[in-house]
Amino acid sequence: MKLQHLAIIFVIIILPISMVVTSYIQTQIDTISVQTTYSSKLQNATYDAIKAFQLNTINNRYSSVSDSKIRDIEASISTFFNSIGTKMGMDGIDQDALREYVPAMLYVMYDGYYIYGKYRNESTDSYQYGLKPYIYYSCRYIKGADDFVVNYSLDNAITIYGTVDGQYVTKSGYLINPNLVSNINETDKTLTYDGETIEKEVLSEQIVLLNEAGEVINTNSPVDYQYIVYQNAKIYYDPTATDGMNYFWYTANKKQKIYDQNILNYVQSMTIGGNLYSESAFQYYKQAYEFSTWVEEHLGNITQSDARDMNGDVISDFAVNTGEEKIFRLNNTNNPLLDGSTFNENRISVIRRSIQTNLATAIANYNQGGNQNYEFVLPVFTEEDWDKIVNNITVASFLQGIPIGSKFFNNYCIITNDKNEEVVTEDSLYIITQDGEVHLPTCKTITNSTVTGVYSNVTFERQSIHISDTYEVHYYPHANSKCYDCMVNVSETYDIDGLISGTITVFDPTQTGNQTINMKGTSLRKQYLAALGRERYDLYRTNDYFGV
């Protein structure tokens, strides 16, 4: 055979192989590029969803009330589908068709969570989409004759109901280390928490007021008013009111004067020397002290091995095994405000187990009543994902079973939000210093500064008032310039637990290595601890404090 023939035969053999390999690799490339664009789209849509939730709650003064919250969540879900539908619409998938591929959406709230998905409506005998009932982060403990349930939350608040020491109790409150509280003075409303004096404080913020005709009263700038939170709503103090009605609610951006004598008696008693004082911080620590003392006395011996599932069997699959460590024995090593305490490890384990089991069930049930030939299962979350879920308001979305190239798309996305009116986390307070700048509590540059105010980060967000289609006004309740070391460029911060416990470790470039600073007695720590208590006390909670 001639060489030319050999070459041609070789080409005849190699050419089809090369073509098949090219086409195969091209398919793989297409699949993966579709997969990455879908993942990005899912992520963007989930972000849109949580942003919608944040915007709605910030601009909704009743957002924490359950009905209103459900409305905000439904709006957020519809934002998610709108967003992902629009993004995918370009790829030929319709928004309603996409719903089939979303087996669940998880909304992690303050003391429980919602799962959105398909459920069976018995009355119409069909499957439909909607929010499933709210599930609390609860765990049942049985020890001897004691048989009770503890509802945990994203912070140190718990609710206990069931039989404790032979009595049926329902109690709710915040857990702190009671050994740190001393010198409670009811008349002056002062107490000492870990060396810092917690006392009455003056709070103020800017608002924009409309008159009865719906026009902005002061068009130049928002007006600063002192306020307190009374029964979950803010009462503002206007010392210049000419008719003697100095106190008002801020309803629909208008002044609603207060005539109720009981409320007036209370706010007048809190007005001293022309200033309106809030006692929330004091009340928080006082009630938390009473509650924690009660819990320690009655539940002090409860350990993780007393936890039972719904069948009454011992739960052995907690994420963190704290063994025989006593969950509710509160002291310096088990301070509920700090990460890593036995209480917190158990709180996280309970939340994690509850979400995992219910979400797995919800997604597995999605297979029923569907017509896909794809089996929906809960993906395995990483530790980092769980860390996000158990500490913040979170939205998790799942997108499964979309056929792409040679396989099915299956991904999830978890996005957290730390600016909302659901929960006050340790990081979600902003510090205003004497020079009018606003900082994160963990900013390295303010350890020695004089602090003039600490407020929830939500009040530093822009608020909008819609007056007409062409006229909108915007204002910031606190319009401070943001620190360039911690707020604009967030790198220069330390761990918040240090501020709470009193000793921080910061990297000092002038020294070699880290430097330890004692924060006890500083203006920052005193104001921070007071604000943490006040903002948590003023937060709307379904299970409010039941006296001990």
Partner: protein, 174 residues
């Protein structure tokens, strides 16, 4: 005489067909696979930053390791745009009908690398933008072979390139 000329031509043709053609085909596939790996790694790297709010030295090293494992050398351009809302706050204070005009200030590859080396991480906040562009700087085998037939010149001669970017969705402080 005529026969031996044809034989020489035939040997040349055969060599091209039997050696260069398969090699070119395979090397192009290799580049495709590298492209795939680099694209995936870049997207993952950027999305991790976006969902965690943290750019760590560890992640950066892993990313560099993944892309260089394709056997090529790369030029990585990173850009972080840090959102500065301050001018906005001042504007809205003065005039309530105006929405604040935000600014971004930029950090580029060398500054980012310097920060990563000294602090181990860069923390970002919600609203910051991050983008990564990567392209190969060496000549891949397929590029070499192509150059054998036709010469490409200029800056845009890369074969493997990927780009991804987006907004950071969470504060990285916690």
């Amino acid at each position: 005489m005529g026969d031996s000329l044809i034989t020489i031509i035939a040997i040349f043709l055969a060599a091209i067909l039997m050696f260069v053609f398969p090699l070119m085909s395979m090397s192009e596939r290799t580049d495709d696979v590298s492209q795939l790996a680099v694209q995936t790694a870049t997207t993952e790297y950027v999305d991790t930053i976006r969902t965690t709010g943290k750019m760590t030295l560890d992640n950066y090293d892993k990313y560099m390791e993944t892309i260089t494992a394709t056997g090529n050398s790369f030029e990585v351009d990173m850009q972080v745009q840090v959102l500065d809302e301050n001018p906005g706050v001042k504007t809205t204070q003065a005039e309530m009908t105006k929405i604040g005009e935000n600014l971004y200030y930029n950090l580029y590859t060398s500054q980012i690398e310097e920060k990563l080396q000294s602090n181990g991480k860069i923390t970002l906040k919600e609203g910051d933008l991050v983008s990564v562009t990567v392209r190969n700087t060496n000549q891949t085998i397929s590029q070499l072979l192509k150059n054998f037939f036709y010469q490409l010149a200029g800056n845009d001669t890369y074969q493997i390139a990927a780009q991804h970017g987006g907004m950071v969705t969470v504060n990285g402080t916690k």
